[in-house]
């Protein structure tokens, strides 16, 4: 009889995925959110200003690059004047900011003359698609491996997980990509050649976001969707495996600590099934995993660039690297700004989410 009573009490505890929401908490939360949001405009301004100065303070010769290697000094000077690069930096900053504030414009590419925003919308969705796919793989593989490691601490499976982490952390992501291309495309022939988001002879119709997998699913073009999916597997796997190491490491140590905690010991002593105990342990691991995932999401806007290049993914990172190599200053500026703003937004959401999920985090 006694054990039944205890069981009843345990069942009354919040389930692992529930958060305690009291009116008091809501008040604290909205106060914190308001404070945090009030900081945003200043932060945005700082990010925009920093992106301008980072790109413009580096001594570069964009005019000569654009004029070409054989151009005479007079030609270069003419190009310089045309691009407005002969003005001093404060003047250019004032121009840049007034353009941004009055027209919302980030300028035009030195080469294609396309508005920078247009390129952002053209290329960014593909990168986000890749990041989402990679993060799914990274979390599932990483947290799974970490949990196995924690559960079988200092036994064989744990050893395998640790070896996996050690090895993956030492392989540069772009080299891992090449290895996978060699093994899975060339040797095994399971997946198509790394030709980007679709085959060379496929032409996506009715693009919405220009992220091929997403578009083809929305449009119901299933044949293209299948091809896009098989093209996405290798790059997503590359980034996924590479970053799963960090998830595995974090998950292993956090869940390992959670397994030793009093509340898990208590749950065990009540004879709860393993699955439920794991649920309670997970609850403690949730915050660091979400935190790391969000940081990674933001970092990969630029961080996926080299893997994008390896797979000719045609996302924003690859585009930015091409533009950087041509010293296309407005585009580079735009890229750094978008990446910075993206990070800002993600961190804002993360801060609020963590407070919401883990009320122990002090609100101040």
């Amino acid at each position: 009889m006694r054990s039944v009573a205890l069981r009843f009490e345990v069942a009354a505890l919040p389930t692992p995925l529930q958060s305690s929401i009291s009116p008091d908490f809501v008040r604290h939360f909205s106060l914190f959110a308001a404070k945090r949001l009030a900081f945003v405009p200043a932060a945005v301004l700082i990010v925009i200003t920093l992106s301008f100065f980072i790109v413009n303070l580096v001594p570069s010769d964009a005019a000569r690059e654009k004029a070409g290697g054989l151009a005479s000094d007079a030609d270069v000077a003419a190009v310089k004047h045309q691009l407005g690069l002969d003005q001093d930096i404060w003047h250019r900053y004032a121009d840049f900011m007034s353009n941004l504030l009055t027209h919302g414009s980030l300028g035009r590419s030195y080469y294609s003359d396309r508005p920078v925003w247009q390129d952002v919308w053209l290329f960014l969705p593909s990168t986000i698609e890749l990041i989402v796919l990679s993060l799914i793989i990274a979390t599932v593989v990483g947290v799974g491996a970490g949990t196995i490691g924690a559960h079988f601490k200092n036994r064989f499976p744990d050893f395998v997980v640790r070896a996996f982490v050690t090895i993956t952390q030492a392989i540069p992501d772009f080299f891992l990509g090449l290895l996978l291309i060699f093994l899975i495309f060339y040797k095994a022939g399971w997946l198509p050649a790394p030709t980007g988001q679709n085959g060379l002879l496929e032409f996506p119709e009715h693009p919405i976001t220009h992220a091929v997998l997403f578009d083809s699913i929305v449009n119901g073009q299933w044949r293209l969707a299948r091809s896009a999916f098989s093209h996405a597997v290798l790059p997503a796997l590359t980034l996924g495996i590479f970053y799963s190491a960090y998830f595995a490491k974090t998950a292993r140590s956090v869940i390992g600590t959670a397994f030793d905690s009093y509340q898990v010991e208590f749950a065990r002593s009540l004879g709860l099934p393993d699955r439920q105990v794991l649920g309670y342990a997970f609850r403690q691991a949730r915050t660091p995993i979400i935190t790391y995932g969000s940081i990674l999401f933001a970092a990969l806007i630029g961080g996926a660039a080299i893997v994008e290049t390896v797979f000719a993914w045609g996302g924003y990172g690859q585009f930015a690297i091409e533009r950087i190599l041509h010293l296309d200053i407005p585009e580079v500026q735009g890229f750094i700004m978008v990446a910075g703003l993206f990070t800002l937004i993600i961190f804002l959401v993360l801060d609020l989410l963590v407070i919401f999920l883990d009320p122990r985090v002090s609100i101040g």
């Binding site: 772009f174 806007i301 630029g302």
Partner: protein, 276 residues
């Protein structure tokens, strides 16, 4: 407390960490001992087979010996990574110690650092090196840009907790100057952590250098560097000439693994010291 310092770390030297350091050093020595000249080597042999024989690692698209080029790559990549690490350390450690003071400026400085880290640092490094015109020293600047903030943060947080301890309080009570507290009391007690971070930085720098070279930034073609070699070989990957890219890739892997393991072992030694 002494066990946390450099002397302590050296006294309890870890055989595996020591072996790792020796391996890295011998790698560099061998790289310099084997003569290599990119121009003499080019077009010498057209065969690009791999396996036992004259060219164990095969030859690349231009008929150059991949084995020699991998060794020659160590001449460039490793010293570059180590100097990038040294610059980050020299800048980051004093700044971190300064920022551990309780002042409004330190607080502002750290907030500024937060904003700065909102940008993708690898991309910033690429921008910096590409815009400034592909000089080797810019690669070092780029590595410092990525890693100095990490040193600052780490040293600051370590120093902040040390400032709470009795011996610092005692030093302040005797009337030690701020500089003396920082460099005689705080710095020696953070050496262990700094060493661990330095090793991790070296590992990460190798990856950054390889990534830059892979994109064709920073290092110019005839010079052998692992990243550029991986780029050269990336075409061959889809047609079966795997050795051109795989061997330099393995070189990167081994070096990064070594530095990571050294850091790992040092950390273990330190935590043992802190407990015992």
């Amino acid at each position: 407390m002494a066990s946390r310092g450099l002397v302590g770390a050296l006294r309890r030297i870890d055989p595996i960490a020591a072996a790792g350091v020796l391996l890295v050093i011998s790698f560099i020595v061998i790289a310099y001992a084997v003569p290599y000249s990119p121009i003499d080597d080019a077009n010498a042999h057209r065969e690009s087979l791999v396996g036992p024989g004259k060219y164990w690692f095969g030859t690349d698209n231009l008929g150059r010996d991949v084995f020699r080029r991998v060794l020659a790559g160590a001449r460039l990549d490793l010293p570059l990574a180590l100097s990038g690490m040294a610059v980050s350390l020299i800048l980051g450690v004093p700044l971190g110690l300064l920022a551990s003071q309780k002042s409004r400026w330190a607080e502002r400085f750290m907030r500024g650092l937060d904003m700065f880290q909102a940008f993708p640092l690898l991309v910033l490094a690429i921008v910096l090196v590409a815009l400034a015109g592909n000089h080797l020293y810019m690669v070092v600047v780029a590595i410092a840009l990525i890693n100095t903030p990490r040193f600052i943060r780490l040293v600051r947080s370590e120093a902040l907790s040390l400032r709470e301890s009795r011996f610092v309080e005692a030093a302040v009570a005797i009337g030690a100057t701020r500089a003396r507290v920082m460099f005689r009391h705080l710095l020696p007690n953070t050496t262990g952590t700094i060493l661990v971070q330095a090793s991790l930085t070296a590992a990460q720098s190798i990856v950054v250098i390889a990534a830059l070279a892979y994109l064709g930034i920073g290092i110019r073609p005839p010079q052998a560097s692992w990243g550029a070699m991986i780029k050269d070989g990336s075409q061959g990957i889809t047609t079966g000439q795997w050795w051109i890219a795989i061997f330099p890739g393995i070189a990167v892997f081994i070096c990064v693994l070594l530095f990571n393991q050294i850091a790992d072992r040092l950390e273990k030694v330190l935590s043992r010291g802190a407990r015992g």
